[in-house]
Assembly symmetry: C2
Homo-oligomer: 394 residues x 2
Amino acid sequence: MFGFTYYAPTKVVFGKDAEQQVGKLVAGFGAKRVLIHYGGRSALRSGLIDRVKAALDAEGIFHVELGGVVPNPHLSKVREGVSLAKENGIDFLLAVGGGSVIDSAKAIAYALADPERDVWELFLRQRRAAGCLPIGCVLTIAAAGSEMSNSCVITNEQTGEKRSYNDDIARPRFAVMDPALTCTLPDYQTEAGCADIMMHTMERYFTQGGNMELTDEIAEALLRTVMKHAEILHEHPDCYESRAEVMWASSLAHNDLTGCGNDGGDFATHLLEHELGGMFDVTHGAGLTALWPSWARYVYRDCLPRFVRYAEKVMGVQDQGQGNEQIALEGIARMEAFYRRIGMPVNMRELGIEPTEEQIQAMTRSCAAAAGGKKGSAKVLYPEDMAAIYRMAR
Amino acid sequence: MFGFTYYAPTKVVFGKDAEQQVGKLVAGFGAKRVLIHYGGRSALRSGLIDRVKAALDAEGIFHVELGGVVPNPHLSKVREGVSLAKENGIDFLLAVGGGSVIDSAKAIAYALADPERDVWELFLRQRRAAGCLPIGCVLTIAAAGSEMSNSCVITNEQTGEKRSYNDDIARPRFAVMDPALTCTLPDYQTEAGCADIMMHTMERYFTQGGNMELTDEIAEALLRTVMKHAEILHEHPDCYESRAEVMWASSLAHNDLTGCGNDGGDFATHLLEHELGGMFDVTHGAGLTALWPSWARYVYRDCLPRFVRYAEKVMGVQDQGQGNEQIALEGIARMEAFYRRIGMPVNMRELGIEPTEEQIQAMTRSCAAAAGGKKGSAKVLYPEDMAAIYRMAR
């Protein structure tokens, strides 16, 4: 195994009506002037934004709000948030939403801590962040894990670039998680979220050595749990217990717990998906499931022991003398069947997009540029590999 | 399941030679004057204290040192540390050791933040702490989990009381974990540590409802992993990989991860052991294994579903129609056999103590007083139950 740093300082307040504590939590960090950042109208219609405002009012905390964050959140919205926050002397970012809203808040927080420079430079890897305003969040969808993670993904809608920037200083100070808030999510969003959660752990699982047994066991535990409850939620979307299992898994899948001791993980599927997201504006979790089976079949021979372990420990494949390659392939096939059962696409056609060869070439170029030429651990992918996987996934 | 707060802000730096980073870590928290707190001569003889001092010197950080912390750390040593720290204007506590040293440092840190009042009042539950100086640690034994936990256990050697106080403000700012530092530990210390690690998770596992499936799965993963590597270390004490598995498990077993969603846990075995530790100064982990089989056989009928799950998922008992009670008892018997295989006592005689009926009565009175009259979740124990378990464990 490799040495590692583990740092997950976010205070999690989990359970029914947890959002009522948001005012006290913000006050506990000494904040006085809050920007409430959110996405679409559902947060307004459900009364959640009003409840959050009431909780802040009760502590005498000033607030302004900015909604309209979209999935694959836009750089232009980040810039709008920065302007509004500067005008109002904001000292705390409160994200009410899922990964897109939290990531948008993180980008605003980076910008405010270094107001003279363009925040997009971080995402272009031109410099490291000088600081970050404190962030808190009220989670409304279990998926991205941004509520405890150091990651932030923003799309420059003018260039079509979807880029990430990771820094521990952006980990939220607190995350309020009320599973009941997710009970009304559409099935597609729920299941795309489950797919994203699982992928955050799978990206850390499929590596070339360096694995720690405790980490592997925890990762497998998480994957089995999310699969089980994703299927329950497909039939019974209002099951609070399953919503809670999946919500807590979203945080643990991406706060680095499932990567301790590994080599940093693979993350090629995420990289490939970012280009889909940038070019076609697909739902992130669905983009991942549309690519993963092709990625897995392209790379499994180079990482056979891990695929065999995955097949046996997570997908329940039994060794009946069929050989490791067949065990691995059966594990991939069962994963694909699981995706289908929860209504997720397993190729790009099912995702509703049919990229031309020119578009595949363009995504490959952008992918390679974002990764500095190559990406992956299970198998290191070069541009020709990336293009081959895109073609397999059509 | 129940709602919960999860807060594990400790920055973990894990791996070979991690202690070299201790100077930079202390400096990162803005500290200037450090009290290095440690236990016996092994930390000196091994050169670890010198390496820690060199790392602090390299950052220009002033330091004084105080060794001599014993297992079941004494209140008198805490008071000695408080005096020394006051004389030297200490602003950071650096614990180099295991749970006893870290707990002693936590008690000193509480005292320094509120210098006019007696710190023992916290342990007598007479008040809450007003503050706590920042603490960091260099871990030298995997056991107590104090490196990420909010708990602190001190023995008042004048009264024989061993008492705990828990507060999130005492969670260490950082924990440096180099598994290689534990490779020379005596087998008994290693295995008592493994027993303690497992018990921290078992205390959270054996509860009446409120359990979360993800938490259960993670707990079971941790228990299986520690059992496996405890047996490896019994034969091959210098196996770095096994030392690393056990060390990381020590933190995860007691940073509350394995209790998320439960009712707060049982912790009766810990309570019963504290009285053994206070009266006979036994090794904590060994005291736990000497009591657990008796506790388990006393309570299992009241918490049968958990004992059955434990038997099947952790101890590998197969359901062959023998009935739940037999499955549960077989799980307990296998646990007892595991303790024997790693050289741990399964009753007080094997622990080397034979308490008289008067001593059992005294421990029971103290136990009940510490718990406010009753304790436990798997089965709520009243004084007569506590005495009965002590008698069973003789």
